[in-house]
C-alpha cells in the first residue's frame, strides 16, 4: 500500500480530484455496458412471455372453451440451458 491514510489516498497530493473523477466516470460507463444487455435480455424474455399469453388468450377466446393456461408461471423455472 503506497498511501498511509484514506485521506492521503483521496487527496493524492492534489491530484485526487482528477484521478477519482476519471475512475468514477469509467466505472459508471462500465456498469452501463454490463447492465444494458442484461436488462435487454430480461425485458425481451418478458415481452415474449406476454406475447405468448396474448396469443393464447385470443385463441381461447376464439374457441370459447377452456381458460388460458399460465405458461409464464411454468417458464420461470426452466431455461434454455436446462431444456436445450
Amino acid at each position: 500500500m503506497y498511501f498511509e491514510s484514506i485521506a492521503a489516498a483521496m487527496d493524492m497530493n492534489g491530484h485526487g480530484v482528477y484521478v477519482w473523477l476519471a475512475y468514477a466516470i469509467t466505472v459508471s460507463l462500465l456498469v452501463w455496458l454490463f447492465w444494458a444487455p442484461a436488462r435487454q435480455l430480461r425485458v425481451r424474455r418478458l415481452w415474449l412471455i406476454a406475447e405468448e399469453q396474448r396469443r393464447l388468450a385470443s385463441e381461447a377466446l376464439r374457441s370459447g372453451a377452456t381458460p388460458p393456461h399460465d405458461h409464464a408461471a411454468d417458464g420461470r423455472s426452466s431455461s434454455m440451458e436446462s431444456s436445450g
Binding site: 482528477y18 452501463w32 455496458l33 417458464g75
Partner: protein, 245 residues
C-alpha cells in the same frame, strides 16, 4: 476446428455457448478489474515527475488498446458478413460497435482529465487525439447506421463497408505519435526491447489490459445474446428458452 467455427454460426448453439462463457468470464473479469484498479490506484508507486495523476493510465491505456483491437474485431466481422453472408457476423458487428464506442469515449475522457494536470490543457488537436476522436465517430457511425435502415441486410452491408473503410485509421492512431510531432507521448510498453515504464508500474497496467480484453469479450457476447433472442423470437429454441413449448 472447422466444426467449432461452423457451430459458432448456429444461433441456438452460440446462445448457449455464450451463456456459459459469460457465466465464468464475467466474474473473472470483474475480479481482474477490481484487483488491477486497487493495485494501480493504491499500491503502485507514484511517478517521479507526474506524481499521482499518472494513475489514470491504468484505465486510459487499457481502454484505448482494447478500443483499437476491438475495431479490428468489428471490421473482421464486417468482412465475414460481406463475403460469406453469415448472419452471426452481422450480429457480432452490431454488438461490438457500442462497446468500442464506450471504450474510445473512456480513453478520450480520461485522457483529457489526465492532460489537464500534466500538459496544462484538457484538449489539443494533435494527431493522436484527433485520430482517436475519429475512431469514436466511426464506432458511433456504425451504431447509428444499424438503426438507420429498416432492412437488416442492407444495414449490415452499409455498416460492414464503413467499418472496413475505417480500418485505415487504426495504424494511423497507433503510429501517429511517431509519424508526426504530437503532444501525446509515444508508447511506454514496448514489444521489443526494454519498456520505458518501471516493472512496479507495468504489472498492474498489463493486468488491467487483460481485464479490459475480458470486459470487451463479455459485453460483446452479452450484446450478441440479447440480439439473437430478438432476431429469432419466432424460433422454437427461443420459445423454449422463454419457457414455452
Amino acid at each position: 476446428m472447422w466444426s467449432f467455427i461452423h457451430k459458432l454460426g448456429s444461433p441456438p448453439w452460440f446462445f448457449r455457448f455464450g451463456g456459459n462463457l459469460v457465466r465464468w468470464l464475467l466474474p473473472v473479469t470483474l475480479i481482474l478489474l477490481l484487483v488491477g484498479a486497487f493495485w494501480g490506484l493504491l499500491v503502485a508507486p507514484p511517478d517521479f515527475r507526474q506524481g499521482n495523476s499518472y494513475r489514470i493510465i491504468y484505465i486510459h491505456v487499457p481502454a484505448a488498446v482494447v478500443a483499437l483491437a476491438g475495431y479490428y474485431v468489428m471490421a473482421l466481422a464486417g468482412a465475414i458478413s460481406l463475403i460469406w453472408r453469415i448472419k452471426m457476423a452481422d450480429i457480432a458487428m452490431k454488438a461490438a460497435a457500442p462497446v468500442g464506442a464506450v471504450l474510445t469515449g473512456i480513453a478520450l475522457v480520461t485522457g483529457a482529465i489526465w492532460g489537464k494536470p500534466t500538459w496544462g490543457t484538457w484538449w489539443v488537436w494533435d494527431a493522436r487525439i484527433t485520430s482517436m476522436l475519429i475512431l469514436f465517430f466511426l464506432y458511433l457511425g456504425v451504431v447509428a447506421l444499424f438503426e438507420a435502415y429498416e432492412n437488416k441486410a442492407a444495414a449490415a452491408k452499409a455498416c460492414a463497408v464503413l467499418s472496413l473503410v475505417g480500418t485505415v485509421n487504426i495504424p494511423i492512431i497507433y503510429k501517429s505519435v511517431d509519424w508526426w510531432y504530437s503532444l501525446h507521448q509515444p508508447a511506454s510498453i514496448k514489444f521489443t526491447g526494454e519498456s520505458a515504464i518501471d516493472a512496479s508500474m507495468m504489472y498492474p497496467l498489463l493486468l488491467m489490459i487483460v481485464a479490459f480484453y475480458g470486459l470487451f469479450a463479455v459485453t460483446v457476447v452479452m450484446n450478441m445474446r440479447a440480439e439473437l433472442i430478438w432476431h429469432h423470437r419466432q424460433s422454437s429454441w427461443v420459445r423454449q428458452w422463454a419457457g414455452f413449448e
